[in-house]
């Protein structure tokens, strides 16, 4: 059984013509094999959240992991092709990424234009109705999604199916991409469904927090767009969608990627056959600008009547994806707000303020955001916010103890290694290279880069990106109970759950 599986994997690797299977963790051996010792010097202070007895058997073996490489080709229409062949299961997934077709490029009065153009592409083509497309796809248990975020720079067409259905799935996807008909009656229907969604999302504290936070951090820059409004929805016309599709869904700077039971030659044949009509448009490479620096830190309250919890979010702008600080901030963030990080251990496991807490950051062509967030019962809003800010301050003010730092780095590297077992995840790493122009060996050296981060570098990243003079605070909850608490933290602005300022 074992031998047979291994042979199959080997066969697929050979077919992929992978030059060398890279042993990733060799450079990170010290981390992966780090031994747990009870009361080891440098251990974070024992707390209710984490006590290490050090008796459980941890393997010291070096974890050997291979980083599969996609095969690539550039096609005459500008399309870049990537294929990660993996024959283990009879299924194939694909994604087409079209830069310049994201919500970033929506006119301000028509926020949502790219998103609805993408959704409408699935609502009928010159030869098929919305229902015909749905029925055919779902009968073979396949799917196609055309999607675009309200602030992202690209739109995507993606889908997957079992191998035997994939050629037909791809043919349907090509039709959706190239020949959408934007039927007026379907647009009316989509608007009705969308309006219901626009109302429903205002009941969710998570949405209200994200909306206010993005506005505070990015202002009117496209990065601050979280959702269309009923007004921008009304402004979007069928003509505008047709034009957006015609001018922006072009192959000049686009990517098509496949993962699964397919070779480069097979993928190329499919693309050249089914997407032959996708011609180069001569479009300029889409560009972006950096968001403006936000104003001085303030406290923002979104009043959500009948709330029994306060949703807290604190944060600021981060960096671009290629910034060398990305790696040390990844490590610092893991220590603070990663799985079982300080925020979890102290605010949940010690204090019992919350069920969930964490932090994370985004980075793209333009500066993204860093945010720590949690939901706490209304009564503990003040101590929870104080503790959250104190934990961030501790990261700025003190170097992370060596053992805690090593554990964080080891968790990142080992988690990365395990993620390589999923072909779609591996492909996503290479998609990031392509999107943001990361060096070709970025992921080969990623474990080594993480391993090399020192306590001083992590602290420097914390001090730079979690600067107290820049941290904005957003709270969603019961205004009657938390307004006075929030006023203690700075100048307060209050909004209602419809996003309107309250005097």
């Amino acid at each position: 059984m074992r031998a047979r599986s291994d042979n199959r994997m080997l066969a697929s690797l050979t077919a992929q013509a992978i030059a060398i299977a890279v042993v990733l963790i060799a450079s990170a051996a010290a981390i992966v094999t780090g031994q747990m010792a009870p009361g080891a010097p440098g251990q974070p202070p024992s707390s209710a959240g984490l006590v290490i007895k050090g008796k459980a058997p941890v393997s010291n073996d070096v974890l050997k992991v291979t980083l599969p490489k996609p095969q690539k080709a550039d096609l005459p229409n500008g399309l870049h092709l990537m294929v990660l062949e993996d024959r283990r299961l009879p299924r194939i997934a694909f994604q087409i990424i079209v830069p310049g077709a994201g919500g970033y490029y929506d006119p301000p009065a028509m926020i949502g234009l790219s998103s609805y153009t993408a959704q409408m592409m699935r609502e009928g083509t010159t030869t098929k109705s919305s229902q015909q497309i749905s029925q055919e796809l779902e009968t073979m248990s396949a799917n196609v999604t055309v999607g675009s975020g309200t602030s992202g720079t690209f739109a995507s067409v993606s889908g997957g199916a079992l191998t035997e259905s994939f050629p037909r799935l791809f043919e349907l996807s090509a039709d959706v991409l190239l020949n959408p008909s934007f039927p007026a009656d379907e647009w009316d229907r989509l608007k009705v469904r969308t309006r219901t969604g626009l109302i429903q999302q205002r009941t969710q504290p998570g949405f209200l927090s994200a909306e206010r936070f993005a506005k505070v951090i990015f202002g009117d820059h496209p990065a601050g767009r979280v959702s269309p409004t009923p007004e921008t929805l009304d402004a979007i016309t069928r003509d505008a969608m047709v034009e957006f599709h015609r001018t922006r869904f072009v192959p000049d700077h686009a990517l098509i990627a496949f993962a699964g039971d397919i070779s480069l030659a097979e993928a190329r044949k499919l693309v050249e056959g089914k997407l032959a009509a996708w011609k180069k448009a001569g479009a300029a490479k889409p560009t972006t600008t950096q968001p403006p620096v936000p104003g001085p830190p303030k406290v923002y309250l979104v009043a959500r009547p009948n709330s029994v919890q306060t949703s807290l979010a604190v944060g600021m702008q981060s960096m671009v994806r290629t910034d060398p600080d990305y790696v040390p901030l990844t490590v610092a963030n893991r220590v603070l707000g990663g799985t079982m990080g300080r925020l979890f251990r102290h605010l949940r496991e010690e204090k019992g303020y919350t069920y969930g807490i964490g932090s994370g950051f985004s980075a793209t062509d333009f500066r993204g955001q860093w945010q720590a967030s949690t939901q706490v019962r209304t009564e503990v809003t003040e101590p929870a916010l104080n503790d959250l800010l104190a934990e961030i301050a501790e990261m700025r003010d003190k170097a992370v103890p060596e053992k805690e730092l090593m554990d964080a780095k080891r968790a990142i590297v080992a988690g990365f290694a395990l993620s390589l077992e999923n072909p779609n995840q591996v492909l996503n790493y290479y998609v990031q290279n392509w999107l943001y122009g990361l060096p070709a060996d970025y992921w080969d050296t990623y474990p080594a880069k993480i391993s090399a981060v020192t306590a001083a570098q992590a602290q420097a990243a914390a001090a730079k990106y979690w600067d107290a003079s820049k941290i904005q605070i957003v709270a969603v909850g019961d205004a009657g109970k938390i307004t006075d608490i929030l006023k203690k933290k700075g100048t307060l602005e209050v909004y209602d759950a419809d996003g309107k300022a309250v005097k």
Binding site: S5, I52, L63, E138, T163, S165, Q204, R348, A479
Partner: protein, 447 residues
């Protein structure tokens, strides 16, 4: 090469038969009972250097006594707070520090713990699971702390969510059986009342090896793994089996209906649930296909006719539950602004009657068949999925290999079967209807 040729040949045959299904390989496993009653299922898969461990304990909220609702789930949290050789939080810390992931989850019928790790950490996973099965650290401080976390979880998922209370109300109204009537998360008062003694006796009764199934799937050697399992687990003493849960539910004679106000909702929601038999019933497969016909995807009847054509709701879903006891087939829709809940209810009822009367198209049945097959292939891509399913099917149905027959069972369901179960179970006298309406909003400018 031969593999590919064989696949194509098979496809040719099934195409001639008018079917779309190429065979998917069967999942092989061993099924062993240790001396102390622990059932151990091991399934080798060397496609990737990882493995998953699942421990399904035969205890859920259905085992809770009156006055202790929410206790099974509260207890689950205690399982991460340390044991004789593992400190509080050390278990998750070690799993994540080694690149893995883990969690625990509780429902009415079982409590499940799982982890995924690189292949070289099998000893670690077995040590951690065995240590807490043997020697959980039960302290008042741990209990108080996790009680807080669970009460926050309740606020997050129920009290601070639109329709959160609706979710609880449905089971309270629909079931007369106490075990299935109360929610898994439990009441705030009962959570506050739980004591350290409760934790200790619950642990002794339900967390015994003879009340659990351990399943291991992935890049492991069966013989070696079983030896390791024996070493770690076999000396944990067994306990007298817990009392059997009463799963009887008297037949429902008339419709139950309630309208409730929700201070967090902005739109009216309709919930209609119908009594169905336990998932072990032979009718379960046909009920699943019924759910597919009614609401799976945009080609489904509910989406096409109610959402897309009549535009009464933004979405209407229909699904059969999985339950070892009395069960529900649920239909949920949110009413679009400007439409009435009565219109939505009438439209749903019309679709139900149309299913009963037939015809059901061949493609609607084929969709269900292909969904089942697709699900099986996806399960083959996930060691965790298989570990959980093998263990759960052993616990619920005494049939760990059930995963291998699911696609075949679904493929056997006919249009007539779907019409029959719709006619038998989707009846007004057996249903409970809850309508949730937004509570009048405060006046403008008021917060």
């Amino acid at each position: 090469m031969t593999v590919a040729l064989r696949r194509i040949a098979v496809l040719g045959i099934v195409a001639a038969l008018g079917l779309a299904a190429a065979p998917v390989k069967k999942i092989q496993f061993t099924d062993t009972k240790l001396k102390n009653g622990l059932r151990v299922i091991i399934s080798e898969d060397h496609a990737a250097p990882v493995f998953a461990v699942a421990v399904n304990y035969n205890v859920g909220s259905r085992d809770e006594r009156k006055g202790r609702t929410g206790f099974a789930h509260l207890f689950e949290h205690m399982m991460f707070k340390g044991s004789a050789n593992v400190g509080p939080g050390e278990h998750p810390h070690l799993i994540f520090a080694n690149g893995g992931s883990m969690n625990g989850t509780t429902n009415k019928d079982r409590t499940l713990y799982f982890e995924i790790l690189p292949a070289n950490q099998l000893d670690l996973a077995l040590f951690l699971e065995a240590d807490r099965m043997r020697s959980l650290d039960i302290t008042a401080a741990n209990l108080d702390n996790q009680r807080n976390a669970v009460q926050e979880e309740r606020r997050l998922r129920v009290d601070n969510q639109p329709y959160g209370h609706t979710f609880e109300l449905i089971d309270e109204l629909a079931f007369e059986n106490y075990a299935y009537k109360h929610s898994v998360i439990g009441s705030m008062a009962d959570l506050s009342a739980a004591t350290v003694d409760d934790v200790a006796s619950f642990f002794k009764t339900y967390y015994a090896p003879n009340n659990a199934v351990l399943s291991i799937v992935g890049d492991v050697d069966t013989k070696v793994t079983l030896e390791k399992v024996r070493k770690h687990f076999e000396s944990i003493p067994s306990q007298p089996p817990p009392a059997a849960v009463d799963i009887t539910e008297p037949p429902q004679k008339e419709e139950r209906r309630r309208t409730v106000e929700d201070g967090l909702a902005r739109l009216t929601r309709l919930d209609m649930v119908y009594k169905t038999p336990p998932s072990s019933s032979p009718d379960d497969d046909a009920l699943r296909v019924l759910g597919t016909v009614l609401s799976s995807g945009r080609s489904s009847r509910f989406f096409e006719n109610i959402v897309r054509q009549k535009q009464l709701a933004s979405n209407v879903s229909a699904f059969g539950g999985q339950s070892r006891g009395p069960n529900l087939f649920s239909i949920v829709g949110t009413v679009n602004p400007g439409k009435s809940v009565a219109e939505l209810e009438a439209a749903i009822e019309a679709e139900i009657e149309r299913v009963k009367a037939g015809p059901i198209e061949e493609w609607e049945i084929e969709k269900a068949r292909n969904n089942a097959r697709n699900q099986l292939v996806n399960s083959l891509g996930s060691a965790l999925d298989r570990a959980v399913t093998l263990g759960q099917d052993a616990l619920f149905y005494n049939d760990p290999g059930r995963i291998n027959t699911r696609a075949e069972r679904i493929a056997k369901v006919t249009a007539a079967d779907v019409q029959r179960v719709a006619t038998q179970y989707l009846v007004k006298t057996g249903r409970t209807v809850v309508i949730t309406v937004p509570k009048a909003a405060p006046a403008k400018g008021e917060l």
